[in-house]
Symmetry: C2
Subunit: 351 residues, 2 copies
Amino acid sequence: MAAGVKAAGASQPDATALVDAALAGDRLALARILTAVENRTPLAEAALRRLFPLAGRAHLVGITGPPGSGKSTLVSALIAAVREQGRAVGVIAVDPSSPITGGALLGDRVRMQAYSTDRDVFIRSMAARGHAGGLASTSTAAAAVLDAAGFDLILLETVGTGQSEVEVAAAADTTVVLEAPEMGDEVQAIKAGLLEVADIVVVNKGDRPGAQRTASQLRAMLVAVGRAGAKGAKGAGAGAGAGAGAVRPRPKEPEVLLTTATTGAGIPELLGSLDRHRARGHEASDTPARLARAEAQVWAILADRLRADLHAPAIREATAATMREVAAHELDPFAAADRLLTELRVPDPRR
Amino acid sequence: MAAGVKAAGASQPDATALVDAALAGDRLALARILTAVENRTPLAEAALRRLFPLAGRAHLVGITGPPGSGKSTLVSALIAAVREQGRAVGVIAVDPSSPITGGALLGDRVRMQAYSTDRDVFIRSMAARGHAGGLASTSTAAAAVLDAAGFDLILLETVGTGQSEVEVAAAADTTVVLEAPEMGDEVQAIKAGLLEVADIVVVNKGDRPGAQRTASQLRAMLVAVGRAGAKGAKGAGAGAGAGAGAVRPRPKEPEVLLTTATTGAGIPELLGSLDRHRARGHEASDTPARLARAEAQVWAILADRLRADLHAPAIREATAATMREVAAHELDPFAAADRLLTELRVPDPRR
């Protein structure tokens, strides 16, 4: 029962109090839980074990696209539109170029600060580096926390140029891929891979020249991607786990919408499209996206526990020595893995 | 001894012949081995086990930076300069915007094709998606193959906006971070994180207005990063493994160089800087970067084997059922991980 990190027992009372406070609407408590999740402290396990059964109701929307496509401005516009409907909205930004994580344009920061007193808007940036597979499991766990805390819509903003980041967005219930008109050849090259994971494609900066033409090009590309047959990276997200959610046929060609996030044009239409996608049977618990998220979380915990075992005092030195032998090319990594598995006393069913 | 994928035995003879051919200079055989490594087929294990002991001599250089900084043009220029010295150079491009992976500018493609008949230049793109931690372990394994095949310098090109991609470049012996002058606010925001992993910073497109100013700004930022104290993400790469290579003090402030890759200006200076960094004691087998690479590989193999175990006929259905329970929020992921660990019959030393 203990966490794979440190003894969780000591922080258990804290966790109970914090979870109760977070569920009662205490945003500071919510923030502390998310910090624990991000840092994988023992508190995180205790809190998540209590919160997880309460989650599973929110609509998780991934928003990804290349830098400069205006993701964070679109997120701001979506927040405003969702708040007008009276719904609570949470944002998890896994994006090094996001103003939320400390980056860019003053205008966006001001827009975000407009919600600093609105208890039904919760914005959180995630660094989540330094852990293979950590981005997916950390952001998924953070989404479960916001979900349990009653946020109805959760936006997962990631930059669409990294493998892990695309997988995070692709594991959402609905994946929105953003593009801007005429982003230049180099950025265009990213599109094909991104389009594979899209449920909805948005051409932002729709007031720029070429926006309509970009939308037409994207529709043509989507037909080509659709013919190629699969929503590849959606399944790829599940690869971290035990293999459910493999490549599946695209149920429906993604819509291509135009928005101008800076003026709000097209945002109501985007919200409508999100709601339709949610309603189209994507709320079932066994969708590939939900299985992929479950697997990402379970696998990350499993890996954490095995790592902790390899660090246990009894074999810590042996593990380090094995790694040094591999680094010196005196031992191949397969033989090293076999040795570590033996040290972990995992019975190998194949032998 | 069997692979964590399928029975490796059947393809063993193929592997021996292929490895012998690759070591004798057969580039098609080399390409087939790299394909196996990329796709994690049983052939990969057999080949890597033979090739790994022969590797460990090459200088592995990570080249990363935001889209538009001119990474692939710089790589082309480096190839030309290295070939003039008579050294063999391998390139592994993990970059969705790279012309090598099918993206962008015709000019660059033509430049790459110039080496299609040069047996001492080997260029390979890596998709490597769909596997948590896969990017690091796959590119590291591919580098070991090229290393064993006698390539003296191996360039690992990644786009510096994704977590996994930055970690791949950061786990090289020498990490070069590329910037272009005045890339705009949004892209500037990426810099701080990238600079943490840099051994050498290159301002490319040095003939553009503002290049000198960008270099000055970067030097100022590097002093600030240096004061903050650590080469964070270098250690982060090691996080995938058993924890060596944690945050370490930066041994020396990174140099900031100007290049104009399109004309070749500054390229000899960059090569000189690479060689100095290599000579500065970074060839030892127990550097944090080499330990991080070893750990990434070992951990990926360990994870593959455990995944295969969870997929074994005896417990495949139980695993899938557990994942469905988590997806339905009927079981928390910690309890699920504990259940799977029991199914794997891993004795938990903490209990």
